[in-house]
């Protein structure tokens, strides 16, 4: 057992490839825990950011600045009574959220946090991700059907129609990105001397292709990459029923859409699935267009000095967060009612500061000492950090959309999906192919 554990440490291949089930299991557990923590953090961030958009404070009472609010919510949802409607279809009602969750979490087996930091590197990575994310529709449709009442059924039909139609546009955009992995073009764009290597569907392969070509696909074949990225960015918002496309849970018409009849833990499973799907879909976007775990400007500002500077970023971010927490503790009113909260926030600041220092130490250690272990640790730290920061940017976008946009009406939503997004994504696909071969 132990040597299986240690033997893998040296290899720079994903556990799946190295056929090491133990490490694959460990990775799966890490990802499960990581995504759940991310969902909790996302829940808090969404409420706080939305509040500050809307000139209010957001949760302040549970824990310092509402930090314990997500935990309080989770406990509340666990304790809440789990009602199953009278003539509901028990079995389907029970399995629907599980399918939603299954679809949301299996996507993470292929998400490349780093060259070797992924559960397994399937050579059909992106295809697998799209396939599994299309399973989520089944969960929603079944939830709507099992609740056995008008509103959830209409909500379910609407959201599944929406997801199916935006999946098409999403697929086209993804294909145009995959095309870029192999086609380098010869004339105007074809700067690199790489031969027309065979493209790849595997996520890690795609990022490595971007590394080799020293360009993010966002900027490759200039306008095309950008257009495909924009199409994907809009489609992914519609895919997860968020912000301007959150019609199925439009409070004002259909009460709460397909999960009206759910309550308690079952309802929280749906919420978990929604947030997990959001993170999964933005990780696809990051991998395909924003160069996955690559640090920004790897080739313009190349060289070990720049590498070192960029490797300080993780530490500095955590120290920045710690500074914000410290400022929060200092500004906490002196009344002894707030004493517990100040202590709590102070401890949280310490933890953040500790992590920051640790990451700084790793970065400096990798620079100074030449021991291979620390260098690998620094590398994986950087990779994971840059990947997470890019996903964080997408998460913030999701919240920003929710604060500013009103909601699309259902027919407009479908019109945009079929009459605007699909033609453009088809066009981008065709032009990318042509440009790749000729230009």
């Amino acid at each position: 057992m132990l040597n299986a554990l240690m033997s893998y440490l040296g290899s720079n291949v994903t556990p799946g490839e190295a056929n090491n089930q133990l490490w694959a299991l460990i990775y799966v557990l890490i990802i499960f825990a990581g995504v759940s923590v991310a969902v909790v953090a996302m829940n808090w961030l969404e409420r706080k950011a939305l509040a500050h958009f809307q000139v209010r404070l957001g949760p302040m009472r549970v824990g310092p600045h509402g930090l314990l609010q997500p935990i309080a919510d989770a406990v509340k949802l666990l304790l809440k009574e789990d009602i199953i409607p009278a003539e509901a279809d028990k079995f389907v009602f029970w399995i629907a959220p599980l399918i939603g969750l299954l679809a949301a979490f299996t996507v993470y087996t292929v998400v490349p946090f780093g060259p070797s930091q992924a559960v397994s590197d399937m050579n059909i990575g992106i295809l697998f991700m799209l396939g599994v994310s299309s399973l989520a529709v089944l969960g929603i449709v079944m939830a709507g059907w099992a609740s056995n009442s008008h509103y959830p059924l209409i909500g379910a039909l609407r959201s599944s129609a929406q997801m199916v139609s935006y999946e098409v546009a999403m697929g086209m955009a993804v294909v145009s990105a995959v095309l870029m992995t192999s086609l380098h073009g010869t004339g105007l764009y074809g700067a690199s001397s790489l031969s027309d290597g065979t493209g790849t569907l595997s996520m890690i392969g795609i990022v490595q292709a971007q590394q080799e070509q020293q360009v993010w696909f966002l900027f490759k074949f200039f306008p095309l990459g950008l257009i495909a990225f924009v199409i994907f960015a809009i489609a992914m918002v519609a895919e997860t029923n968020r912000a301007p496309f959150d019609l199925p849970e439009a409070e004002s018409e259909l009460t709460a859409g397909f999960h009206t009849e759910y309550s308690g833990l079952r309802w929280s499973l749906f919420m978990l699935a929604e947030y997990a799907a959001m993170i999964a879909v933005s990780s696809i976007a990051v991998t395909l267009w924003l160069g996955g775990w690559m640090r920004p400007f790897p080739h313009w500002l190349s060289g070990s000095v720049w590498d070192f500077i960029f490797s300080l970023f993780p530490g500095l971010t955590f120290l920045g967060l710690a500074a914000i927490a410290v400022r929060g503790t200092l500004r906490m009113p002196k009344h002894n009612y707030f004493r517990v909260q100040t202590i709590g926030l102070g401890a949280f600041a310490l933890v953040l500061g500790g992590i920051g220092l640790l990451l700084l130490a790793i970065a400096i250690g990798a620079r100074a000492s030449s021991s291979e272990a620390i260098a690998r640790a620094a590398d994986s730290m950087n990779n994971i950090y840059w990947f997470m920061i890019k996903i964080a940017v997408f998460m913030y976008l999701f919240i920003w959309y929710r604060a500013t946009w009103p909601r699309y009406r259902f027919d407009q939503l479908m019109k945009v999906g079929w009459k605007v997004m699909l033609p453009i994504s088809l066009g981008v696909l065709i032009v990318t192919a042509i440009v790749g071969v000729i230009a």
Binding site: N19, V92, I95, I124, F128, V141, M142, G144, W145
Partner: protein
Amino acid sequence: MNPAMTPVATPFFFYLLSGLAILGGLLVITRRNAVHSALALIVTLLAVAGLYLMLYAPFVAGVQIIVYAGGIMVLFLFVIMLVNLERTIRERQFNRIWPVGLVAGCALLALFLGVYAKGKSLFPEQARGLAEGNNTQQIGEMLYGNYMFAFEIASLLLLVAILGAVIMAKKRI
């Protein structure tokens, strides 16, 4: 065979997946509730996708999941929900022709037994090359290489089908 392709505890997974597939198939025909049978069908399809993976055809497995589980089954569920089931149940069931069904079933069974008895000799030798590494590429080359013409005709056929559906739906709106 490069190490990456050493099968992963195949016998256990094989029996598990095929068992699931058979169980799902049985459930499809025995369940009274249409949605339950649709669910069972999804389980079967996913089990078959698992089998493809074990045959080192990940691309086919991926397509199986997308096309069947993600696409067609959603259609099935849509139809089951939108079509008013109470009325269909009241309509006349024409299952008095079960003897014909039985005969067809036995013929199929005989075919399977025949194949099982003959064993490997039925299949041409070279088909068994394992295509793990570049399964996607191989399919791509074949599909767009020497079977290009057939592929185009199939897509034309699909186009006709879609147009037919739209016209039928259009008439009513």
